[in-house]
């Protein structure tokens, strides 16, 4: 694959290194540009240094692994025409993490569940939950905006989707649509290894991500701090477990995995104060040994690379714009802080409603909601409106409302959008009151 892919790879790595080592202070002294430009550049450098290697890269590998190793057909079985309703709602609300790693797959699945499967209720539940709880978004929210908001986003999205689905079913129960005669075509699920082996594989991937990003707790005692102080030791142990799994169950040869483990260990021992170096060596090694192999490991890398290629450029632009308009936390960009705190500060009904409506109509490219929200919070946005925007934002946008309308008609679309906006507002009010 590298014959064709080396160009984008070189560009991405070069841009990343440029951002990582960007000499903003030096540039600032030599050119007279408005302050907001520097804010954008500072923010880009901060993202490159803090969030790419430890958080985004492992998250890409996890998203890639989900799309290769989780059989989508076996999930869709529970959303088919004959599925039990209770099961269908449950599966629809959480399966977004597994099915909708790419937002462009959400709408066909929605139309399919509506027309050929479990009906309007579960379809609406899926439509809402799909984009809202995709793994990349949740991981990234928790990392940048804090664990609390990340968890609130995930839990809120799951609860919302079920409630919205039930409402949609209830409101339109009289016109449950004449079931299309078409039989849904699903690929045969392929079983390559037992479920528990896959589960352990995912657990080790998630383990590396979680422990490598373990934040410093406020107090220097207790379990959280104990984990924090030995986080690199724990990360190494989990990573070794991953290496063993790759050798035993994924047919990556022992010597190949060894050529990754040994340099990583060397980097860790020689530069104990720079864990990023060891981490980067491990990621590079894993990329080389998986991409040069066909079959599952090759597919795994190809999918992960696809996510990286698709998302990183958009995120770079998103971060630049967020920095330009809103500045870093504590600084001001082009938009005066007063406007932001006036519109969405505090936790009033109006602030929450405004955040919900703005979020519902605005289009956020994957993950860009995070830097934008970070900028808004830095300028005085309240916790409640922040959650309201996160709950209404990625799930809806003007373009996708139009597509939804072509599938379920104007009336149902209006009701769906209204439900999302109202519920996001209410959730914002509750969260804002709780976190005070």
């Amino acid at each position: 694959m590298w014959a064709r892919e080396w160009r984008p790879l070189v560009v991405i790595v070069a841009v990343f290194l440029l951002c990582f080592y960007l000499p903003v202070d030096w540039l600032r002294g030599s050119a007279g540009l408005p302050g907001a430009v520097w804010e954008g550049l500072y923010l880009v450098r901060w993202y490159a240094q803090e969030h790419v290697i430890l958080c985004l890269v492992p998250a890409f590998f996890i998203a890639g692994a989900i799309s290769v190793f989780v059989s989508q057909a076996s999930v869709l079985k529970y959303l088919g025409a004959g599925a039990k309703k209770v099961v269908a709602y449950g599966v629809a609300s959480v399966s977004g993490t597994l099915l909708a790693v790419c937002s462009c797959t959400v709408l066909p699945l929605f139309a399919g569940i509506y027309g050929m499967g479990a009906g309007l209720g579960p379809a609406s539940a899926f439509l809402y939950a799909g984009p809202a709880i995709n793994v990349l978004a949740i991981i990234f929210t928790a990392r940048v905006l804090g664990l609390e908001l990340g968890v609130a986003r995930a839990v809120g999205a799951i609860v919302f989707s079920v409630v919205i689905g039930l409402f949609m079913h209830f409101i339109f129960r009289k016109e449950e649509l004449e079931k299309a005669r078409i039989q849904a075509r699903l690929p045969e699920p392929e079983v390559k290894r037992p479920l528990w082996q896959n589960a352990l594989f995912f657990a080790s991937l998630v383990g590396v991500l979680v422990f490598a990003n373990w934040g410093e707790p406020a107090r220097e005692t207790g379990l959280w701090y104990a984990i924090y102080s030995s986080k690199w030791l724990i990360t190494s142990v989990v990573a070794l477990a991953l290496a063993v799994i790759l050798v035993r169950w994924f047919d990556l040869g022992l010597w190949k995995v060894g050529t990754v483990v040994v340099p990583t260990a060397l980097a860790a021992l020689l530069l104990p104060s720079e864990p990023l170096v060891a981490f980067a060596v491990a990621v590079l090694g894993l990329s080389v040994i998986t991409s040069t192999r066909g079959g599952e490991p090759g597919d795994w890398f190809a999918e992960s690379w696809k996510f990286a290629k698709q998302i990183l450029p958009l995120l770079l632009v998103g971060v630049l714009i967020a920095g330009l308009l809103l500045g870093r936390p504590g600084e001001e960009g082009l938009i005066p802080s007063g406007w932001v705190s006036g519109a969405v500060g505090g936790n009033s009904l109006l602030a929450n409603l405004f955040a919900s409506i703005a979020g519902a109509f605005m289009y956020f490219a994957t993950l860009t909601e995070v830097p934008i929200l970070q900028g808004l919070i830095g300028n005085g946005m309240g916790a409640g409106p922040a959650l309201a925007l996160l709950l209404a934002g990625p799930a809806l946008s003007l373009p996708n409302m139009l597509v939804i309308r072509s599938v379920i008609g104007t009336r149902k679309t209006v009701v769906y959008v209204a439900l999302v906006v109202v519920m996001s507002t209410v959730a914002g009010l509750i969260y804002g009151a709780m976190s005070r």
Partner: protein
């Protein structure tokens, strides 16, 4: 004349599949017509939920997968 249809809303995987299908058909040297179906209703009419889907002469050959050009050649035979 073979009619090859790619079902999907224009995401990167759909483009990839269309590209592979084109290569396969050209290498086999057959007469073909390639069509990208992006309208959701038409995609549903084929019973496809997982995109991209590959349809040859009106028959759904694969769903939710990006087949390689070699795999598509097999299907076109």
């Amino acid at each position: 004349m073979r009619i090859i249809q790619i079902l999907g809303k224009g995401c990167p995987s759909c483009e990839k599949l269309a590209e592979n299908a084109e290569v396969a058909a050209r290498e086999l040297g057959i007469e073909y017509q390639l069509e990208k179906v992006t309208d959701l209703k038409q995609i549903m009419a084929h019973g496809v939920m997982l995109t991209p889907g590959l349809v040859v002469d009106g028959e759904v050959k694969s769903v939710g997968k990006v087949l390689s050009s070699d795999e598509i050649k097999e299907l076109l035979h």
